[in-house]
């Protein structure tokens, strides 16, 4: 790994005009990592541009760093080095694949286990909690001092990908890196409020509606939330808003499996499962044509909502036998 890092550092030191490509539908880790790399390399006198496919989610507007969109980058196609951050494969680059393809030197820095090592130079550390954790090491290796703005970006990258240091990917090293970042005096209470404790009214109303619809089965071990399409339309809910509701079902005291059954459109039912300790929900989802992990999985059922609820409940009851 150290060898791969040194090779990339060498390539970056030789580069003069660098394109940084976060993945499509950018999240905190890829945005924070990208801005951190670009701010760091700009300090060394290099021309660096972060190129986004889509706009950033509003919650990340406060991140220090600038970017251009795909169209502006296309008109400007003399990047000698392209660095992809937090992207497991080339599909995650979207239209910006064209920019990647034209790069004389291509670099891939990521932490996803599924990474396809698609660049000339690849650094994939699956033990890193976030790409931001790896970027911290790179900036250190490049001997560029970590300023307040770089620290803010890396703090957001790492905290969002670890659910605020709560998920199992968080390691001792994660906290050690955060300790270093905090030495710059970043206002972490403000940052955390912006990324974790700000909710749209739509999302809040949806949460209330979901709680009102909670149903328990199997002596309270199964908690199910069913969201009919007309409710979602009435509230003006987007795909993002329903994220986290399966976790809400799972979080009720005494529950082992939380299930969200969402009528995306009539006849198309998205189901997601989360479990706490012992039920393998990957199996349940697989038996319904879906997939995922032991503790988080999902499937799509092409049937009406009532039928879907029956099918899912039957599978759940079987899983507890």
């Amino acid at each position: 790994m150290m060898n791969e890092m040194n090779e990339i550092v060498e390539q970056i030191q030789k580069a003069s005009k660098i394109a940084i490509l976060p993945h499509v539908d950018p999240d905190g880790d890829c945005l924070g990592s990208s801005f951190a790399v670009s701010l760091a390399l700009q300090k060394t006198g290099k021309k660096v541009q972060v190129i986004l496919e889509n706009d950033r989610p509003e919650m990340f507007h406060f991140l220090p760093g600038s970017y251009i969109n795909y169209e502006a980058a296309e008109a400007n196609d003399d990047y000698d080095t392209v660095i992809c951050l937090d992207s497991g494969d080339l599909k995650r680059l979207g239209k910006r694949y064209v920019i990647f393809e034209k790069g004389s030197v291509t670099v891939n820095i990521d932490h996803h286990a599924t990474n396809t090592r698609y660049a000339q130079y690849n650094y994939v550390d699956v033990n890193a909690a976030a790409t931001g954790e790896i970027v911290y090491q790179f900036i250190h290796q490049l001997r560029i001092p970590i300023c307040h703005d770089i620290a803010t970006n890396l703090y957001v990258a790492i905290s969002t990908d670890t659910g605020g240091f709560k998920y199992s990917n968080t390691t001792a090293k994660t906290h050690a890196v955060i300790a270093e970042l905090m030495e710059t005096g970043i206002p972490i209470a403000d940052i955390n409020r912006k990324i974790f404790d700000t909710m749209s009214l739509v999302k809040l109303k949806l949460t209330a509606a979901a709680i009102e619809r909670i149903q328990f089965y199997h002596e309270g071990l199964i908690c199910v939330i069913v969201l009919p399409n007309d409710l979602l339309c009435d509230l003006g809910v987007t795909e993002d808003d329903t994220e986290g509701l399966t976790g809400l079902a799972k979080s009720v005291q005494g529950v082992e499996v939380g299930v969200l059954i969402k009528e995306k459109e009539p006849g198309v039912i998205k189901v997601s499962f989360r479990s706490n300790e012992y039920i393998d929900v990957a199996n349940i989802a697989a038996s319904l044509g879906g997939g995922g992990h032991k503790r988080a999985s999902g499937c799509t059922l092409n049937m009406n909502l009532d039928e879907a609820v029956d099918v899912v409940l039957k599978k759940l009851e079987e899983a507890f036998k």
Copy 2:
């Protein structure tokens, strides 16, 4: 500070039977700190007992460590050393003040700025995020290795008092200590699920009811939740359940001040205020006979609910002038 720590370490090394007193209505910090100290000192062959005034909240039942209640301790009054943890003053000891008074050596370890230095030996570090952070240093100073169980207790102590490392009391040192604790391999995802992501159904139903009652004023800058007493009775809500709802009001996108107006009983209205960036809610609460900090304050109004809402709204509108 180092001198005070060394003196206490010396006293602890001389002690043979030690009583550990967390504060009344125990929280994660005082319980985790107390169990950590008792497990550590037991390793050195000392007799140590954690003595609780009330039972632990259910969410902390998983903490490794044992305790006795006040009555059992009373019958057993030959403690030579008494260590108070996380208690700002002697009132926080409740009935167990009797045990404190009988101690030949008394020690007070805390991080509250209001600490009255009531013991023979006092170590009060107001820059520590949690008493657990100080206890970590003490155990280190005593050269007792931090095992899995001690690390679990200290992790809970520190993470609960920092709101999961999100509050402004969290420092670089806090994360450095957590990094050390995690080297023992504690299952942080499980721990965080138990302390942060488990909710009673009553609390969830109350949250839904609170969201349904959200009202905005002053172009969405003020978000108010009013909870009438009959609603609280219907839902079977306890005092603890309403904690966090002012934060919910404050978290709505675009809101500067979140307010919870709770009819504790007819004629007794508890009001709490939280602000995000610029409104000084200490002033607002003070003008209503209450108090607190710039960003979090409260007051009690002895009037009927409708009157209270009017009074509070008038004060809020004035604050925005």
